[in-house]
């Protein structure tokens, strides 16, 4: 029994920490900042909503939703072929490709942002900038989100394809399918749950992205400000209330993500 109690103590410490963090955010809003004590849910709700009505923050909400959606779609679009390639084919240098895909996951976020910034200072980078401005503009927000989020999507899709027996594609090919037809007709329908998971994970990563966006896209209000930037900007001017309100909004988004993941089934089994 001491063993089990040990497990339970350690587990509940961590779970308790997570719950306490979120509860503290919520409690902060319903507690009267003037120190006169609890002034109730209604006033608290007002404090939650008021900052969200600011045009800058509404812009950030909109940009976050749009950029995260684009990132999620792009990530799945890249992760499906890349995950399939890594799962089904053996080729020279596969180990290296595999390691490279993991780089954005292990790299410090600020380094990702700085690397992107420098990439667009090179000759080909500048050439792109002349036609299509990226740095310190909205495309930089999406590219910064995508470069990290996609790595998670690729990992998810690879595990998804690993779990689908190649035998089914082989049978489909004996039944008259080309490799491509076998993929579209047999593999992809089976990978649907994995694709929802990959998109959701990518979306969530994109939503939480901060470092690379700050470095590569800047934190210009009404221009490249996303929700994580808002928290940073509001905090830096001492407006804790708005920072917490936006944080709670992001907690809500995270809860939604978890619900989708549960619904898509077996997020835990997908290797992240």
């Amino acid at each position: 029994m001491p063993f089990l109690s040990g497990l339970i103590v350690i587990a509940s410490l961590y779970v308790g920490l997570i719950v306490a963090m979120i509860a503290a955010d919520a409690a902060y809003l319903v507690t009267d900042p003037t120190g006169k004590g609890d002034d109730g849910i209604v006033a608290g709700f007002g404090r939650l909503v008021r900052p969200l009505a600011k045009p800058e923050i509404r812009y950030a909400v909109k940009l976050s939703l749009i950029s995260c959606a684009i990132t999620a779609i792009l990530s799945v679009w890249v992760a499906v072929p890349l995950g399939y390639l890594m799962s089904r084919y053996e080729f020279r240098g596969k180990g290296i490709v595999d390691a490279v895909i993991d780089v954005p996951i292990v790299l410090p976020p600020l380094v990702v942002g700085l690397s992107l910034l420098i990439l667009f200072q090179t000759i080909p980078g500048r050439a792109i900038e002349r036609v299509f401005p990226v740095t310190y503009a909205i495309p930089a927000v999406i590219l910064a989100q995508f470069s990290v989020a996609c790595a998670f999507a690729v990992r998810t899709m690879r595990v998804t394809f690993d779990q689908i027996s190649p035998r089914r594609e082989q049978v489909a090919r004996t039944l008259g399918c080309t490799r491509g037809q076998a993929f579209w007709r047999v593999v992809l329908p089976e990978a649907r749950g994995g694709m929802v998971t990959a998109a959701t994970v990518a979306w969530a990563r994109a939503m939480g992205e901060f470092g690379p966006i700050l470095v590569f896209a800047g934190a210009t209000r009404m221009r490249t400000e996303v929700l994580s930037t808002t928290i940073f900007l509001e905090l830096s001017v001492g407006n804790l209330e708005a920072a917490v309100a936006v944080s709670l909004l992001m907690v809500l988004a995270a809860v939604l993500v978890l619900v989708v993941l549960r619904w898509a089934g077996g997020g835990q089994a997908r290797g992240w």
Binding site: T174, L175, G176, T178, R185, P189
Partner: protein
């Protein structure tokens, strides 16, 4: 007719070399050998799923050695059946017809025929998850036979079934083969299966293939080594 002539196949570190055998049109050939002797590799080479390093494969008079699996006209039932979890039984039976762009009325007629032939009535709207072992087996067989292939390849098709179901499947395989006239190559490690089904028997042993009359199995059963391998069936 299935003609395999001097076939060499490599699969990872594992290889089979210089194998030859012939099964005539309409025959039920059984290829018997121990687990891990290369039977599956051989079958996959005939399907086109393993690249051939040497030798030829001819099916119904056509050299298919380097054709993609889709163009070989073989029905294939792998050991694990590999049914498609997202499709119903009806979609399984119609899969090859849909890929081949049969007109829908013809395809529906063919699905009805297969349903009748394999006793799948009442299961058509189910998915593989809801099927028993014997039912899944019949669906895999129907999916492979749908486009009327000239050659049927079965890889240990009965190994996952309980004994009663297996006995029923012997009869079904026999009658399906008689009715369709499909040239069948059935790979197994079970002497009982070989004894019940084979028109022709090939024994795969220590990397070589020899033909042996199906009746010889009775005598070999007395052989102590033979009795032991049969026990694993």
């Amino acid at each position: 007719m299935i003609v395999v002539d001097g076939l060499s196949v490599q699969s990872g570190a594992f290889k089979v070399e210089g194998l030859s055998f012939t099964a005539n049109t309409g025959e039920y050939a059984v290829l018997m050998g121990r687990t891990g002797c290369g039977k599956t590799t051989l079958l996959e080479a005939v399907c086109g799923l393993k690249p051939v390093r040497g030798g030829r494969i001819r099916l119904l008079g056509r050299d298919v050695t380097h054709l993609p699996p889709a163009d070989r006209g073989v029905g294939y039932v792998p050991q694990d059946l590999a049914l498609f979890p997202t499709m119903t039984v009806r979609e399984h039976l119609g899969f090859a017809l849909d890929v081949r762009r049969w007109n829908p009325a013809e395809a529906a007629k063919r699905v009805d025929e297969l349903t009748e032939l394999l006793g799948l009535g009442g299961l058509l709207d189910r998915r593989p998850q809801g099927l028993s072992g014997g039912e899944a087996q019949r669906v895999a067989l129907g999916r492979a036979l749908a486009f009327r292939p000239g050659v049927l390849l079965l890889d240990e098709p009965l190994s996952a079934l309980d004994e009663d179901t297996r006995a029923g499947m012997y009869g079904l395989l026999r009658s399906v083969q008689r009715q369709t006239g499909v040239t069948t190559l059935h790979v197994t490690h079970s002497r009982a299966e070989a004894r019940s089904l084979a028109d022709r028997l090939f024994v795969f042993d220590k990397g070589t293939l020899r033909e042996s009359p199906p009746s010889s199995l009775q005598d070999e059963l007395l052989d102590a080594r033979g009795a032991r391998t049969d026990g694993s069936a």
